[in-house]
Amino acid sequence: MSADQAGIGPPRVGTPEGQSPGRAEGTVQRREFLKVLGVTGAATTLVGCYSESIEKLIPYVVSPDNTVPGVSNYYATTCRECPAGCGLLVETRDGRAIKAEGNPDHPVNRGALCARGQAGVQGLYNPDRYRGPMLREGGTLVPTTWDRAIQTLSTKLAEARNSGAAAGAVFINQHEQGSFPAFLDQWLASQGLPPHLSYDAEAPLGAIAANRAQYGVAWPKLDFQAAKLVVSFAADYLDGWGLTVPQQLAFAEARARLEGAPRVVYIGARRSLTGLNSDAWIPARPGTVKSVADALLGAITGRATGVTLAQAADQAGVSAAALESLAAELRSARPSLLIAGGASERAADMALTVAELNRVLGNVGVTVKPFEGFLAYEGVASQAAVRAAAEQMAAGRVALAFVRGANPAHTTPAPVKFAEAFQKVPFKVSFSSYPDETSSLCDLVLPDHHGLESWGDAEPVRGTLGLQQPVMDPVFNTRATADVLIAVAKANAATAFRYPADYRAWIASRIGGNAALAAALPTGLMRGAALAAWAPRPVAAKSGGGLAASAGEYFLYAYHSPALGDGRGANKPWLQELPDPVTKIAWQTVIELHPETAKKLGIAEGDHATIETGQGSLTAPVYLYIGLRPDTIALATGRGHTAYGRYAEGCGANVMALLPVAEDARSGAQALVSTKATIRKAVGRSLLVTTEGSGRQHGRGIARALTAEQLAQGETHDEHETFRGQAKTEFLPGLRSPVANDAQGDLGDPTSKDKGQYDPAHWSGAAKRRWAMTIDLARCTGCSACVTACYAENNIPTVGASWQGPQFLPDRTGLGSNITRGREMAWMRLERYFEIDREPKDVEFDPDFETRLIPMLCQHCGNAPCEPVCPVYATYHSPDGLNVQVYNRCVGTRYCSNNCPYKVRYFNWFGYGEPNRQQYAFPEPLHWQLNPDVTVRAKGVMEKCTFCVQRIREAQNRAKLENRELQPDEFTTACAQACPSRAIVFGDAADEKWSVTRRIEDARAYHVFEELNTYTAVVYLKKVNHPPRAAAAKA
């Protein structure tokens, strides 16, 4: 799929340097901002533009390259939100980045992008970023100048060198791939400092260590498509474990093979999103997955591995039959794909066992491909190393400490006492962009550019170099760390000669000069290799005995939040507002308990409970989750920040307060599942900030599924799932005839006169098209990237922050006060239905339940119930089949929402778009991200999914300007573009050249609530389940 098909036009050559003469000093000044904009209408539509600033407008005398006011430029660069190094095409308008999209040509993400990647722009425009260099004077950080800051740094370095303390210095860098780590180490060496620690709290170090031992690479390629059976040993490969996007792409491709798709089994104490996407769940007790793996190895090879299946089943607290049948399946279904994850203290050993299993099952090279691997984790340091560094600091052996991006004060377990240790360091330098827990302790802050503002490179897969270029001038008075380092080096004659003018020049020189760079920038890709970083020093792991040693009747199961990760996402409102794909909780940290356990403890959902471990205690509201072992308590990382900006502070709790130091002896990975705990009911209760209504479908056939066998035998009709209604319920084949005709009312009648625009023969040709969408539930994993993409594209306000409620309303103010009242604005939401026959809040433990995940958005009905009830024509049916919402005309009777069976209309209860209000959702400069093509909706009007009408019209206009017809699949909606499962297809259902038309004819296709005769333009394709062969035979 090329850039054109991605609907983003040809990326234009060049870099946006010099596009904006403005450089805000300390704060974003409107005048500068307007200069950035140039004199464009967008300026006045985007920010409330006051008269006194208008007279200051300085029009461009010479417009910079390829800046056409109101027309987007796209710059190819590399995503830095996680180590995967996905390719980005960043849409910029009038010198501002407004949306991050996947680069279709990029080998890693192939045009897809996860929620965290989308939210990168909110990091760029984060209102709480450092706005310039800061220096600690009299205990507080005060703004300073770059010259002074760099001067200070140089002198401190010189002091360190002279005093001989340099060797003990510590530099903790947020792990990233590419040449920078090597560049940094070179610089450190030139300054007489030891190599840096490339720290990533989320890195699956156990698996990495095992991979290195087994295959010599950190991260092999996992080929789901080739497998007949996928077994995950607590590896949450759809939850952010490893490289989310490529794994999800591969997984979805495999699932899309329907009958031929692999059966997926998940082994682990908590059914994560990966578990929910699996066909079977073996709820092994925490810390026992290794013995399950051993037992399976023994059962398959016949070797004595010290544990039999029966013993393993006993230890793991699962049925022996389940393991027996799994072993049988493993023997028969070849090739299979076994993935080792887990965050226990024996993760690496377990991973080695699983690697051995893969070997004996002949999967290596077939489904596990070491030589096509990813380089994301090359050079990542262990958490043990960071802990050791902290010990050095505590011991006072560190005179100089640097931190960049990483936030160990928040991501290391409490016993490490990182903050205390760090404070003991005489001089601490931060290159971080945000005032997080670690950098706010520093004495000197040299804020780095955001990834979208800086130069760089990455080698995501061997031999391919992904380039990183600034997509706009820096928002604030920041500087790229590399450039700062070069400046420091140049200040010293001894090192000056080694460096070119700046990091851009350094990169260019590596890859063959400016010409080569310029040639490669349009796609952001070229052949080549990044400079290899130093291999991390092995550090002795340390453990207090972990699970076995700790007391308490419940296991504490901590896991990394899919949206917020180790916590770095917490300052981005999109990610805070994004309901967790599994728990559907936003803005909150919840204690997950199984309903059975909660009943035993007399705890109801929402009650506060206190967890206690040997290390500390934590109190939070309780959420009841049926996908959890009754003897286990689950908690997500990511929240509970004490610094890190307005959106991160004061929401949730940090599970790290409960964990002991428990490191994997082999990999030095800090185990997240490392202790037992006690839990008791605490005083107080709070409403859960959740978007969940009822967790099951009540047989209403919203998200439907069939088994592979049914599909193979052509049994695609399942009457038991379509609930009987008044109207006829047989599936309407395609959208063309019935809807296209019906949507035009009597104008659809061939005999009717003067159909106006609704006449296909009308000069506008509008009625020739019928925009429609298909969503393949066999592919959809519920990752929710589409939700964030929709927020980004359509200027949807986030409403959950604690100050966004009513001004004074004693009962309901505070965090998520709008969401607890069901007022979230997600035009596209992901519904998560458990296929069980009782409310999921009171059930006995039963690992055998199915989950259906379905994106729900405006269905753009042909017979839209919302339209005839609107008294003012604020919503009507456009000739090309869109259910149009006219914000300016809406008076806010909300009747349309009442009458919408899908409940996909959202009302502006407050002035979320008005800068002078406490509920304002885009505090400066977040509003720089707003899409100029989309209105920011006013207080008191209804809004909903528009099928990205702005993209439709843009494409149509472009076609008109180029004097041609629209090409099939020329463009697509934001959700479809982002979807890492490629589950969403958008297009013109009235033209069979568009691929959506073929999907609509699929045997699995169905409309939600057909019996209401709404003739929806969104067609879902049924999910395909893979029950064990035996069960299938019975069914």
């Binding site: 949507a743 035009q744 009312g745 119930p865 339209e867």
Partner: protein
């Protein structure tokens, strides 16, 4: 020029008798004032039927027509499709027809009433007395000067509590 004679009665039958006598003798134009509508007077005076109903009919019909017209014309003037329904749907538009029938019909009835009852009138005409809204019945005979005597005589004969002439 005409003058008149006014008689105020306590008893209704007396007033009625007086009226009948006056009519019989064609003394002059009779106006009756009564605190509450009584059929006795109607029988005595035999007035023509009230034409108010015609106003009602015309108003109602025009209202009904206008109701349909405005709805259909407005829909057609900017044809947008909502919910796959016809652009102008006469069935629900019957509601507008009905409501406007009632509205305009009702208001024109009131207009008819005002016109024929000759209200609002600016001045209290001669011959009215506040007692006629309390407990007395008034009979006002408007006649030529030479007939005033007869009128007075008749009114007194039937026991008018007070008889007064007026210009």
């Amino acid at each position: 020029m005409m003058q008149g004679m006014l008689g105020a009665f306590r008893e209704i039958d007396a007033a009625v008798a007086a009226i009948e006598d006056l009519k019989e003798r064609k003394v002059g134009a009779i106006t009756v004032f009564t605190p509450a509508p009584r059929h006795e007077f109607e029988h005595a005076l035999k007035p023509p039927r009230s034409p108010v109903r015609r106003y009602t009919l015309i108003g109602a019909l025009s209202g009904a027509v206008f109701g349909y017209w405005i709805a259909i014309w407005a829909s057609e003037s900017w044809p947008l499709v909502v919910g796959g329904k016809a652009v102008s749907t006469w069935v629900p538009y019957t509601i507008f027809s009905f409501e406007l029938m009632v509205l305009i019909g009702g208001l024109s009835t009131v207009a008819g009433f005002f016109i024929h009852a000759r209200i609002p009138r600016v001045t209290m005409t001669v011959g009215y007395d506040p007692r006629f809204s309390a407990g007395h019945y008034g009979v006002w005979v408007q006649c030529a000067p030479e007939k005033l005597r007869d009128a007075e005589a008749i009114l007194r004969r039937y026991g008018a509590e007070e008889v007064r002439g007026a210009e």
